[in-house]
């Protein structure tokens, strides 16, 4: 909650946006959870004496275009979006609204999106310690060949990765996003050392709801 608060407190109008499929099944990010999180944030804002409007909403899937229709107006007018989707959904919203800050409400632990019917691309490695709030909604862990947290490496050329001209340089995408949002000052912040114990390095992972 503190982590989410630090990301959103700078805004005046945040859409708390649920995703009603995978993460809803996991009881983490459905419309109901969006409603609860928005209430908690409203209370937090009141306690901190900050005027922030938290609108809760949601759609069936944040990883496919067609579901966005009913929320299009709301999202177009949102200053920022706090997404309760998995890391894939957060990145999908970020790609769809290039100038809108999009923050993750979940630390996705384990997963691609469907950029077109039958086309799947890896967007999250389920590393257990989400950095999308700092990287403009583009994940360097899954989308940079070297997983560098302070990129780009010396191999970025014309927006493409050194390993292939077919592969986008994740750090070019991150910088483009930061630039579009007017947040280039974020680029110079050094990223802390990654805690890989929350990734596969900590061994095979599982998740259990205590009171389920």
């Amino acid at each position: 909650m503190e982590e989410i608060w630090e990301m959103v407190r700078q805004h005046k109008n945040v859409t708390v946006f649920g995703c009603n499929t995978c993460v809803a099944v996991c009881h983490q990010g459905g419309n109901k959870e969006a409603e609860i999180l928005a209430s908690l944030l409203r209370m937090k804002a009141t306690r901190e004496e900050l005027e922030i409007q938290f609108v809760d909403s949601g759609i069936e899937r944040q990883c496919e275009h067609e579901f966005f229709e009913k929320a299009e107006g709301l999202l177009q007018n949102s200053e920022a979006v706090l997404s309760l989707a998995c890391g894939i959904g957060v990145q999908f919203v970020a790609t769809k609204y290039p100038k809108t800050p999009v923050y993750p409400a979940l630390n996705t632990t384990f997963l691609g999106d469907v950029i077109a019917p039958g086309v799947f691309t890896e967007k999250c490695q389920g590393c257990g310690d989400c950095v999308l709030g700092a990287t403009g909604g583009v994940c360097p862990i899954s989308r940079c060949a070297k997983r560098v947290l302070n990129g780009p490496c010396g191999g970025s050329a014309n927006g493409k990765c050194e390993i292939s001209r077919e592969v986008d340089c994740a750090w070019q995408l991150i910088i483009d996003r930061l630039d579009a949002m007017g947040k280039m000052e974020n680029y110079e912040k050094l990223s802390s050392l990654k805690d890989w114990s929350r990734d596969r390095a900590g061994g095979p992972r599982s998740f259990k709801l205590e009171d389920f």
Partner: protein
């Protein structure tokens, strides 16, 4: 003169001299003769010699062992260290090992992706990135601690370096990225091979505008072209390399057997021009498998004899 380390390179910079370094790639064999011979060729003409760390992801004698061979020859080594192959445990362990042999300089790099090398199926590590390795080197030295927080009784005291590419993409972060490396702890910088002199000077101007030349010692990277073919290849195929057409035309304008000499002439002229650029603190001459030409370049560029600082 307040020195933070035992590094000769640090002494050179702090004495106000232009530093000169070169670079040797270790052999793909357990026979060290080749690297020792290369070291002897350039020993008297440089202040320190970088040893690459499995460059282009091709397996070679490890950088640390090759550095020890050079050290035994009385040469000051710069240990290149990439984060591709080792996690933070192995990196810190190698830093301790290197320090135990009196190696005083480390250049922190991420490393080429393994898909370029001889083991394309390898898993890479990238537990840390190049900036985080810089932070690690400085943390061990300044705090006397491992990343875990445990104390190091005798901490390694490395002079910490990093690479910078004034020509890479995206262009808008070229100077901010240098600032970030300085914030991470870089004390010296070796740049990518410079061919587009105008663009390099423009970069240096922006570096000076932010006052970064006062915070780090920037060594200009020089690689002589051996032929017009090499120049065309570097322009076409090497990411982050900016080779202007006028340089290619100049090499193409001389007879084939004269092209290597013309390449050396160009390198000498580049050094002479860059000596006048405020903020350039030295030169890193990377004569890839052409070490025998390094003395000629350094002498002709007026950087010889090297100053005595010990």
């Amino acid at each position: 003169m307040e020195l933070k380390t035992e590094s000769k390179l640090e002494k050179i910079f702090k004495s106000g001299h232009l530093a000169v370094t070169s670079e040797c790639g270790p052999p793909r064999s357990s026979d060290p003769t080749h690297i020792i011979e290369k070291g002897r060729l350039i020993k008297n003409h440089v202040d320190a010699v970088n040893i690459t760390d499995n460059q282009t992801s091709v397996t070679r004698i490890c950088s640390l062992a090759a550095c020890i061979h050079l050290k035994n020859e009385g040469i000051e080594p710069v240990l290149q260290m990439v984060t591709r192959d080792r996690n933070r445990i192995a990196l810190q362990s190698d830093l301790l090992g290197a320090a135990s042999f009196g190696i005083n300089n480390v250049l922190c790099l991420s490393g080429d992706h393994q898909s370029f090398g001889d083991h394309r199926q390898a898993q890479n590590v990238f537990d840390l990135d190049s900036m985080q390795l810089l932070q690690t080197v400085r943390h061990m030295r300044e705090e006397g601690k491992f990343l875990s927080g445990d104390e190091i009784k005798v901490p390694p005291r490395f002079y910490a370096g990093a690479a910078a590419n004034p020509f890479g993409d995206p262009f808008m972060i070229r100077v901010p990225r240098l600032a970030k490396k300085i914030a991470a702890g870089a004390e010296f910088i070796q740049t990518q091979c410079i061919y587009n002199m105008d663009r390099f000077e423009k970069w240096m101007e922006e570096v000076r505008d932010r006052g970064l030349d006062g915070k780090v010692n920037i060594m200009a990277g020089i690689t002589p072209m051996r032929s017009v073919g090499m120049a065309k290849y570097m322009k076409r195929a090497v990411p982050g390399m900016d080779v202007p057409d006028e340089l290619i035309d100049r090499l193409a304008g001389v007879e084939k057997k004269q092209q290597a000499q013309e390449g050396i002439n160009i390198a000498i002229e580049q050094i002479q021009r860059l000596k006048e650029v405020k903020g350039v603190a030295g030169f890193h001459v990377m004569a890839i498998e052409w070490e025998e030409k390094v003395p000629e370049i350094i002498e002709s560029a007026g950087l010889y004899p090297r100053p005595e600082v010990d």
